[in-house]
């Protein structure tokens, strides 16, 4: 896993003391998170307490998937187009929190799937097939989140992970996972959570 938290730019453009000779007055915009390295380091530490987490991180280290922690409030996740993991968290975040960790686990699993040959289809060629693929991948990666959270039951981090699952509307899916329900029943819980998100609520 490559950790890229700096936003120094490539430095390829000619730049004067106040930017690129006046053509871009916003050249100083910075996206890298000031605590990105600490957040990633702590995430590795927590994931090392989970056998599945260890495997996931090892695979991504081996494949050198870039991981960027960016300041911001937008979406986080794995981008199959850029083949990198982008995590956004407010600039005021000073340490790892459960939301970041859950997003990271989900993104790591999706990256592993992509690298394992389950390539994301082009949405422009068949949008229905694309939607089916995205839902199947979501279900798989959230199931992996549940698996790792369960493995972290004895970790000091477990209570905040449970709180975060609840906040994200995934607590019923986690309960279903613990109950060992069928894949179909797990999908039903996923569908309920998804519908809840898309009503504008959690």
């Amino acid at each position: 896993m490559n950790t890229e938290t700096e936003n120094t730019g490539s430095g390829k453009k000619l730049q004067g003391a106040f930017g690129d000779r006046g053509t871009n007055v916003n050249a100083g915009l910075a996206y890298g998170h000031p605590y990105g390295e600490e957040i990633v380091s702590k995430a590795r530490e927590v994931l090392s307490e989970s056998p599945t987490g260890i495997k996931l991180v090892a695979l991504l280290d081996q494949k050198k998937v870039p991981l960027q922690i960016m300041k911001g409030q937008g979406e986080s996740g794995f981008s199959p187009v850029m083949m990198s993991i982008i995590l956004q968290t407010p600039g005021s975040t000073k340490e790892l929190n459960a939301d970041i960790l859950i997003n990271l686990i989900k993104a790591l699993r999706e990256a592993a799937q992509e690298l394992g040959g389950q390539k994301t289809p082009d949405p422009r060629s068949d949008v229905v097939h694309y939607a089916e693929f995205i839902h199947a991948r979501n279900l798989d990666s959230i199931t992996f989140v549940c698996k790792i959270v369960k493995e972290l039951t004895n970790s000091s981090y477990f209570p905040v992970l449970l709180d975060s699952l609840k906040k994200l509307g995934l607590n019923n899916m986690y309960k279903a996972y613990l109950d060992g329900v069928s894949k179909e029943e797990l999908f039903m819980e996923y569908a309920k959570a998804y519908n809840s998100f898309n009503r504008g609520s959690i």
Partner: protein, 202 residues
């Protein structure tokens, strides 16, 4: 907020202004769109949103800008304060609440998100509460009260806030430079169950 999608030429200018060489893939002109919304409390500044639709999740970034200068909304109060200090802020009795809602939505403190409950009937996220919490929020809700203190040139706002999984009645001061201070707060509901913010990961 009423978002307006910008035309291609203007979008390209905005993306050129805010893009980062280190994250060129996130600011691809071919797969991104730019939206803009007016803010009633700023004279010449708008909020801009750049969204890359190349894949799911769609990564998005928001800015305060006048079309030339942009401040990245990184989840801290710094960009808001920077624009305020340019003399752009024009607070009055009619727009101070909109400012406060915008501030809480974009300046995330170390303790996490704060949501101002202005009209609970217009807050889809409350639908995610369990029935007891949902009823209690409505039963205990009091309308927002705004008072201008000429001596301090500041507004005092009494409002219900959702923070730390609790609903509190708070007195918030917003001064003419847009600095926000929570001066007093009293818990009205502890441990709201099943609540959360729209931080969809699915």
């Amino acid at each position: 907020m009423h978002w307006q999608r910008l035309d291609r030429e203007t979008s390209v200018k905005v993306i050129d202004s805010v893009k980062s060489d280190a994250n060129a893939g996130l600011f691809s002109i071919g797969t991104s769109e730019v939206q803009r919304a007016r803010l009633p409390f700023y004279k010449d500044y708008f909020v801009y949103k750049v969204t890359n639709f190349a894949s799911l999740p769609s990564f998005s970034f928001e800015y305060l800008g006048d079309g030339t200068f942009f401040q990245y909304l990184d989840g801290t109060e710094a960009p808001i304060i920077a624009v305020n200090d340019k003399g752009q802020l024009n607070l009055d009795h009619n727009n101070v609440l909109a400012y406060l809602e915008f501030y809480f939505a974009h300046a995330i403190g170390e303790d996490g998100d704060i949501i101002l409950i202005n009209n609970p009937h217009d807050m889809p996220l409350l639908e995610s509460l369990d029935i007891d919490s949902y009823n209690a929020v409505f039963a205990q809700h009091k309308p927002v009260q705004i008072h201008y203190d000429g001596g301090y040139d500041a507004y005092e706002i009494d409002a219900d806030l959702y923070k730390d999984s609790q609903v509190v009645r708070a007195r918030i001061e917003v001064n003419s430079k847009g600095r926000v201070t929570i001066k007093d707060q009293k818990m009205t509901m502890q441990q709201v169950s099943g609540s959360g913010y729209p931080e969809a990961i699915i």
